[in-house]
Every structure is written in structure tokens, then in C-alpha cells.
């Protein structure tokens, strides 16, 4: 039940929050804080890396939706890296896979976002 969170910057300057373990009512506030910190620094696009997440609940979804709303209000976006079928299923059964921009890998996301203007 360990949880880790780390904020990094990708080569192209895009901030990424890497999560590991279980994101739930106990740990999701840390994700919220990390996102607020990036928003406070003026981030327009934020990447959330769910590669090492093994459990995610409605609390985590709520934090992600909140972040997405704030970013889109500022013409930004929240990008999710989610290779796990188990985690992706939570987005699918709630219909949120149609709302979030989701990628199977960091490489896939980089290829797609390099085609878009920032």
C-alpha cells in the first residue's frame, strides 16, 4: 500500500507528476497539492504518469477532473499516461476516457504533443 509522488520536468519543459501505488482518499490530497503547486507556477499543460499506479478510486478521479477543469479554463490541458488496462478500465466504466487525453506511453504522448502547438 505504499504511495510515491514525484514532480519532474520532461526534456521539452512539460511538467510531469509521476505516481506510484494506490491513489485513494488517503493519498489523493498529495496529488491535489502537487497539481496546485504546478498551476501556481503557471503550468498550462500537466502530465500525470499513472504507469506505476495499481489502484485508483473516485477521489483520485475527482482530483484529476478538478485539475483538468482548471487547466482547460486557461486553454491548457491535462495529459494522462496510462498503460495499465486495470487503471484504464476505471476511466472507461465512468466514461472519463472520453474526457481525458490518455496515452499508453510517454513516447506516444511526446509524438502526439510534438505535433500540437503549445
Amino acid at each position: 500500500m505504499s504511495f510515491k509522488i514525484e514532480t519532474q520536468t520532461l526534456d521539452d519543459g512539460l511538467p510531469v507528476i509521476r505516481l506510484e501505488g494506490e491513489v485513494d482518499v488517503y493519498t489523493a490530497p498529495q496529488l491535489k497539492q502537487a497539481m496546485i503547486a504546478l498551476l501556481g507556477k503557471g503550468a498550462k499543460r500537466i502530465v500525470i504518469d499513472l504507469t506505476k499506479v495499481e489502484y485508483l478510486d473516485s477521489t483520485a478521479l475527482g482530483v484529476l477532473i478538478g485539475g483538468l477543469k482548471r487547466l482547460r479554463e486557461a486553454d491548457g490541458n491535462l495529459l494522462l499516461i496510462c498503460p495499465s488496462a486495470r487503471i484504464k478500465r476505471v476511466f472507461e466504466i465512468t466514461g472519463l476516457d472520453k474526457i481525458f487525453e490518455m496515452y499508453a506511453s510517454e513516447e506516444e504522448m511526446k509524438t502526439a504533443t510534438q505535433k500540437e502547438p503549445d
Binding site: V25, Y26, D57, S58, L61, I65, R89
Partner: protein, 139 residues
């Protein structure tokens, strides 16, 4: 186990606090793994129990019931798993949401409804009892 046999029971009591919700999920994972559920069904159960316990935690925080607890009682039948989540988190007043965003609560409700076969909510003197049922061998 034959259908007419008494179900095996497992009971877990945890503090109604965020850090213990994972303990309930872990217990449920152990119980469900002993039954003829598919991998996906076990994941559904784990998520559903997590959502129900989270709801209890949120109401305990809202009602300032710092000593509240959750009793998780699982009954293991040959063809189904029944899980009771009984909390002492105080009343859940209609039309009044917890500290959670309304959208988050709606998501939790949606998940619970989609993940298990039956859900029944019964107000109790000190909190709420939610009974959920998941049948094995059904998708």
C-alpha cells in the same frame, strides 16, 4: 460449499479514517481471491469496497465523528459474496453533501452501482449500513 450450508463469515473492524480504507480493500482482496471470481470481478469488488469505506470516512469527517469505526462483514457463499459495511459515522442527511465535491460523490455512486450486482443502503441509529452482493460466474 453446498448452497444450504451456512456461509463462512469474515469480520474486520477498522477506524473510520482515510489511512485504513486500504486495509479494508486488502482484506476484501484476500476474501474474494478464495472464491470463483474472475480477476476483473475481484478488482470490481476491491474498488466497490474502497468506495463504500471512503463514503463512510467522508461522512465521519463531515459529522466530526472522530471515534467512528467501520465494521466490514463478509459472508462467503458458494455462488456469491455478500459484504456489509456498517459505520458509526453519524447520519447522512439528504441533500447535504460531504466535504467531497458533488461530482466526486456522483462518480463514487456510479462506480458502486456498476461494479456490484446488488446494493442496499439502510440508515442505522449511529450511522449507515450498506449491503452489497456480487455473484460469482456472472459478468
Amino acid at each position: 460449499m453446498a448452497n444450504n450450508e451456512a456461509p463462512a463469515q469474515v469480520e474486520l473492524i477498522i477506524p473510520c479514517q482515510p489511512e485504513y480504507v486500504g486495509v479494508a480493500r486488502l482484506a476484501l482482496l484476500g476474501i474474494a481471491s478464495r472464491m470463483p471470481f474472475t480477476y476483473e470481478q475481484i478488482e470490481d469488488l476491491r474498488l466497490a469496497v474502497g468506495e463504500l469505506c471512503t463514503s463512510s470516512v467522508e461522512w465521519a469527517q463531515k459529522n466530526k465523528m472522530h471515534e467512528a469505526r467501520i465494521v466490514l462483514r463478509a459472508e462467503i457463499f458458494s455462488d456469491k459474496l455478500t459484504v456489509d459495511i456498517l459505520d458509526t459515522a453519524g447520519p447522512r442527511r439528504c441533500g447535504e453533501s460531504t466535504s467531497r465535491d458533488e461530482e466526486e460523490e456522483n462518480l463514487a455512486q456510479l462506480l458502486i452501482t456498476l461494479l456490484v450486482d446488488e446494493v442496499e443502503v439502510t440508515p442505522q441509529p449511529e450511522g449507515t449500513l450498506v449491503r452489497m452482493v456480487k455473484y460469482a460466474g456472472q459478468q
